[in-house]
């Protein structure tokens, strides 16, 4: 049962950032701006940090549960 739960978490850690990336209408807007930069540009740039975070947790969990997966 535990292994099943971890599989779902691992899948979500990859799928959530991918869903946001490919869901273009989510971020295809002009405002709010930051320092004059339209939402379209700053959101995608900041999302890079979030994505790296998701992926890093994925890598960490995968290593921790290495024997079971």
């Amino acid at each position: 049962m535990r292994i099943k739960k971890i599989h779902v978490i691992l899948a979500l850690l990859i799928l959530i950032p991918s869903f946001v990336n490919l869901g273009v209408p989510i971020y295809n807007r002009e405002s709010p701006e930051i320092l004059g930069l339209p939402f379209f540009y700053w959101f995608q740039t900041l999302w890079l940090f979030a994505t790296a975070g998701f992926y890093f947790v994925f890598a960490h969990l995968k290593e921790k549960h290495h024997d079971k997966l």
């Binding site: 490919l22 295809n28 004059g36 930069l37 995608q44 790296a52």
Partner: protein, 496 residues
């Protein structure tokens, strides 16, 4: 005319670069007469080094030339490069540690090695090797175009600028060929770190200094059309499929696979891959330069002296030259220059591996280890000069377009290489047919989308709007590979 401090900074750092390239031979010493030592740096690179080496595949002329030039000419559509690099590392995180583990167990150096072993088909393995070599060539040519753009900006105003430029490129390539020959992937890794440090510094300086000097981003965005601010809704499918298609394609390129296989362990590979989206931040800054330049009158004035089709290529170097102090511009321009040189070396090594192991050895199986390494070294040199010759012969804008075609071609090896890692039911014959149809349909759609004229677009108009051709032909390819494998399984079940 440029000032002497630009040239002094540029040349002195280039000398450091050369020294590092040759020193690579002694770095983490190994017997360079073994293929995996020369081509994969002995499979000993840790998290940080793999981060830099694969990152070097990202900070290429693709980021300095193709993307800013696209943003400059067409607007926000070309910002797709940022979500693309995020997604591509997700794909890699799931698939590449498995390829690494199999490669370590069975001694694979290339994706073709894996395919041959997995499907027992030399035909499929050779086809995948050829696709890799062909798709990589315009990618190398693009690197040279990037280097050329730096030289064009530096030498503009000189008499015989063109001749000086071509001689400088040739010298740079002879040096590159010499240290790749002696140091292999070790030299490339060391120089990759050097280049990435310079580029990171440049990117940080540009993103702080340029908006301040032009009075904020809003000033730049007020100079451009609305297609530069957000995507028009008709381009949303194009944006999403460019992300998807490019993300699926990157890790199929031979040079990306070399980077993966040079890792010391699957865990280290996973960690460095997870952090690689951070490289996208620099890429985002470079892409934004395609818009910032509109607010820098001196740079725009300089660009107006060139034909419209080649202005985009020069955006990043001219913005650097016209907004930063001379000595720093020299450092930054050198960063971009070697930013083309290093990936070109990594790519040529990967091509040479495919040619030697998966094509020549297939035809003449009893080559000794020492001749194998010799052929690999010589062919890696040859591939670099083929790409250089290509750039001297065709216009620069054409090289960028051919790189788009390269992406469409390389995506077609995905069913065998990535699905082959997981799906047991795949069979070789449907994979071969799928690959051929994928390539054929891809080329046809590129021709049709450009009305059989020069390549400028890689989007195909469908009922859903314009879609990246790589995604359409990959879908056809996958349908054949899976459908055919299923049909073979059914008929075999009926016979027994």
């Amino acid at each position: 005319m440029i000032s002497s401090d630009v040239v002094i900074a540029f040349v002195s750092l280039f000398i450091v670069f050369i020294v590092l390239g040759f020193y690579g031979k002694y770095w983490r010493r190994g017997d360079l007469n073994h293929v995996h030592e020369w081509s994969l740096a002995g499979r000993k690179l840790g998290t940080t080094l793999v981060f830099f080496l694969i990152g070097a595949d990202l900070y290429t002329a693709y980021s300095f030339v193709a993307i800013p030039s696209g943003v400059f000419a067409k607007g926000s559509l070309y910002f797709f490069a940022i979500p693309y690099v995020m997604l591509t590392f997700g794909v890699a995180l799931v698939t590449m540690p498995r390829l690494w583990t199999l490669a370590r167990e069975k001694g694979y150096i290339t994706a073709s090695d894996f395919v041959k072993d997995r499907f027992g088909s030399s035909t499929l393995a050779i086809m995948i090797a050829i696709t890799g070599i062909v798709a990589e060539l315009p990618y190398i040519a693009l690197q040279i175009v990037g280097m050329q753009s730096v030289l064009t900006v530096m030498f503009s105003g000189f008499a015989n600028a063109q001749v000086v430029e071509e001689i400088s490129l040739l010298i740079a390539f002879v040096i590159l060929a010499a240290f790749t020959y002696t140091s292999g992937l070790r030299g490339a890794t060391l120089t990759a770190i050097f280049k990435d440090i310079i580029i990171w510094i440049t990117v940080l300086v540009v993103i702080i200094a340029v908006p301040i000097s032009i009075g904020g981003f809003s000033h730049a965005f007020s100079q451009v059309k609305s297609s530069y601010v957000t995507l028009s809704s008709s381009l949303v499918p194009a944006y999403a499929t460019l992300i998807l298609g490019s993300a699926l394609a990157l890790y199929l390129y031979p040079h990306a696979i070399s980077g993966v296989l040079s890792s010391e362990s699957a865990q280290k590979l996973r960690k460095s891959t997870a952090l690689l989206p951070l490289y996208g931040v620099g890429l985002a800054v470079l892409a934004l330069m395609g818009i910032l330049v509109f607010a820098v009158p001196s740079a725009m004035n300089f660009l107006s002296g060139f034909p419209e089709s080649s202005r985009g290529i020069l955006v990043v170097p001219s913005l650097i030259l016209y907004t930063l102090p001379g000595w720093f511009a020299g450092i930054a321009l050198l960063g971009i220059f070697v930013g083309g040189l290093v990936p070109a070396a990594i790519m040529a090594i990967a091509q040479a591996n495919l040619l030697t192991r998966n094509i020549i050895k297939e035809i003449k199986p009893n080559i000794s280890d020492s001749s194998e390494i010799k052929i690999t070294k010589i062919s890696s040199t040859a591939f670099k000069f083929i790409a250089l010759g290509f750039v001297f012969l065709v216009p620069a804008t054409y090289a960028i377009s051919l790189q788009l075609l390269g992406g469409i071609l390389i995506a077609q090896i995905l069913p065998a290489v990535l699905f082959g890692l997981y799906v047991k039911s795949l069979k070789k014959t449907p994979l071969i047919i799928g690959l051929l149809v994928g390539i054929g349909s891809g080329i046809y759609m590129v021709e049709a989308a450009n009305s059989f004229g020069p390549f400028t677009s890689s989007l195909f108009s469908t009922v859903f709007g314009p879609i990246y051709i790589a995604v359409i032909s990959l879908a056809i390819n996958l349908a054949i590979a899976f459908g055919g494998s299923y049909a073979i399984k059914k008929t075999q079940a009926l016979k027994t």
